[in-house]
């Protein structure tokens, strides 16, 4: 029996004014998987994540979480159901300290001991953040801000983590470290939907992948199979 179906998108359409950004996207994520969504700039990857987390209401179609419709819920209600979204562009709170940013990640967790424990884990993962804990988020370097964004998402301890281009602007050594982190999370059973610029890397760690092109899913399948398709190699892997 395959692992439980967590998230399911059926024919989701979304618009910004007159721009038809998603033209019927269907995809699914099962418990314990890393699924990656790749595609060129403007394909609609971020829009897909924004629909899932409720930042954007789909024009039509349905989004099911553990079999229940969540489209139409507000973002904070969707977070409460266990979907964490680390949005495009990091979006850390510039005038809150590193520690306050992390605390906000665990906003819904009322048990202080659990919050402290998770913070300890994040600091272990990114010792740099521990050094800067009293510093304002806006004063961090780009790479440090990216660590903070991911740390903040981990503080939520979500059942499903939506990551939008987490390696953007990271130095290569940090990119490696981040992918290792994601694999470690996978090993402890976390479920991740990963949107990545770095398609080659994403396909290495994901089990399954979807390719999005101007609002339409053009390919889907196991990450290994997709990585070997000639047209994928040409279009996204630069070969």
């Amino acid at each position: 029996m395959p692992p439980a179906l967590l998230l399911q998108l059926n024919q989701v359409q979304a618009c910004y004014g007159h721009i038809h950004a998603l033209k019927g996207v269907s995809l699914e994520v099962r418990a314990g998987e890393i699924v990656t969504l790749i595609g060129s700039n403007g394909a609609g990857k971020s829009t897909t994540l924004r629909c899932i987390s409720g930042l954007l209401a789909p024009r039509s179609g349905e989004i099911l979480w553990r079999g229940q419709a969540i489209h139409g819920l507000k973002p904070h209600e969707i977070v409460a159901r266990g979907i964490g979204h680390s949005p495009e562009g990091r979006r850390i709170f510039p005038q809150l300290t590193v520690e306050e940013n992390l605390d906000l990640g665990a906003y819904l967790e009322r048990d202080r001991a659990i919050v402290a424990q998770r913070k300890g884990e994040v600091f272990e993962l990114f010792p740099r953040l521990a050094e800067r804990r009293k510093q304002d988020g806006g004063t961090l370097s780009g790479g440090e801000q990216q660590m903070l964004a991911i740390g903040r998402a981990l503080m939520q301890n979500p059942a499903l983590l939506l990551l939008d281009e987490p390696t953007l602007g990271l130095a290569p050594v940090l990119v490696e470290a981040l992918f290792e982190t994601l694999q470690a999370l996978h090993r402890v059973g976390k479920t991740i939907l990963l949107v990545e610029q770095n398609a080659w890397h994403a396909l290495q760690i994901a089990q399954r992948a979807y390719v999005l092109q101007t609002g339409v899913i053009t390919h889907s399948g196991s990450a290994r199979d997709l990585a070997n398709l000639d047209e994928i190699k040409r279009a996204y892997l630069g070969e």
Binding site: L55, P87, R91, Q95, L104
Partner: protein, 321 residues
């Protein structure tokens, strides 16, 4: 003659501090709402007025039953805070939230709504007081114990009620500082102010936090209304207008969106205004009377904004609150 003026200075500064405390408390409401919504809530001056009126009613109805003037003042403060806080929340719920949900990006619409709410509240209070008591000019009754003077160094003296005003303002500002910096609600308010969509991704319900912000700002405004009444006694449904404009000025002076700016701006404005009211006449050889004190305050605002558009403690552009 100049010596006499110099001798007056400490007392004038004390007066300025008292007025500044009232401005600061009102300014906090403007600045907090601006912080989370980018909206100038002009109805806030009427939230302040309603607090003052609520205070008068407490004195009218509970005064005969409560012996201790401090307990009476405390009751007036608490009840005014509850009524004004609730009113501010109600205004947000009924007037601003529906506009926000319709997704209009035109900033003039909520601004004009705020002005409409202001007029509505002025006339509503006038109507209620008229029907209830047959007139809408009210007084905070004088109390001998509250007016009793204590001597201070440098020829100053201070009334008990003035000590009360300063103590309440200081306590409320310290409490607000604690709330905003240390509590879960405070972090949520700051997160919503800095980036509302991302705050919602943290599990924060922005509508709830916006409501709480109006509640807190409104409660502070209501408390300011009672402090104002204790200091200056006379209240009517239109009494909010001038202090409201001054407090808004104070918020801009300090850097709108910044709560410490509102506190500082209120104190600075209160002091300048009181100094102007006392000394302008003498310094201009009688050419300008103390009715020009308001002009002085606004000239200073204009000059400050020319050289420091973000206000005393405001962030420079690009670093939105």
């Amino acid at each position: 003659m100049s010596e006499a003026l110099l001798e007056l200075l400490p007392s004038v500064l004390l007066e300025g501090l008292l007025l500044g405390c009232v401005y600061a408390m009102i300014a906090l409401g403007y600045t907090m709402v601006y912080g989370v919504l980018g909206l100038i809530n002009f109805a806030h001056s009427e939230v302040f007025m309603v607090g003052a009126v609520a205070g008068v009613e407490v004195y009218r109805y509970l005064g005969p039953h409560v012996e201790n003037p401090y307990i009476l003042a405390l009751l007036a403060l608490v009840i005014a805070a509850i009524i004004s806080g609730g009113l501010a929340m109600g205004i947000e719920r009924l007037a601003y939230r529906p506009l926000r949900k319709r997704g209009s990006t035109n900033r003039l619409v909520p601004l004009i709504t705020a002005i409409g709410v202001s007029f509505f509240l002025q006339d509503l209070v006038r109507l209620i007081e008229g029907l209830w008591h047959g007139e809408f000019y009210m007084n905070f009754p004088a109390d001998a114990q509250m007016e009793a003077l204590h001597d201070l160094p440098m020829g100053m003296s201070i009334q008990n009620k003035s000590i009360l005003v300063i103590a309440v303002a200081v306590i409320m500002m310290l409490a607000l500082d604690h709330l905003v910096r240390r509590t879960r609600l405070g972090k949520a308010i700051r997160a919503v102010a800095q980036d509302l969509p991302t705050a919602s991704l943290m599990g924060i319900d922005p509508d709830k936090i916006i409501g709480r912000t109006f509640l807190i700002g409104g409660a502070l405004g209501g408390i300011a209304g009672v402090l104002f009444g204790l200091l200056y006694s006379q209240i009517n449904p239109f009494v909010g207008f001038v202090p409201g404009i001054k407090a808004f000025t104070a918020a801009v002076l300090g850097g709108i969106g910044n709560i410490y700016g509102a506190m500082l701006g209120g104190l600075v404005l209160g002091t300048i205004e009181t100094l102007g009211g006392t000394y302008l006449f003498f310094l201009t050889g009688g050419a300008l009377g103390n009715e020009y004190k308001d002009i002085l305050a606004f000239i200073i605002l204009v000059l400050l904004l020319l050289f420091r558009p973000q206000g005393l403690l405001g962030k420079t552009q690009g670093e939105k609150v």
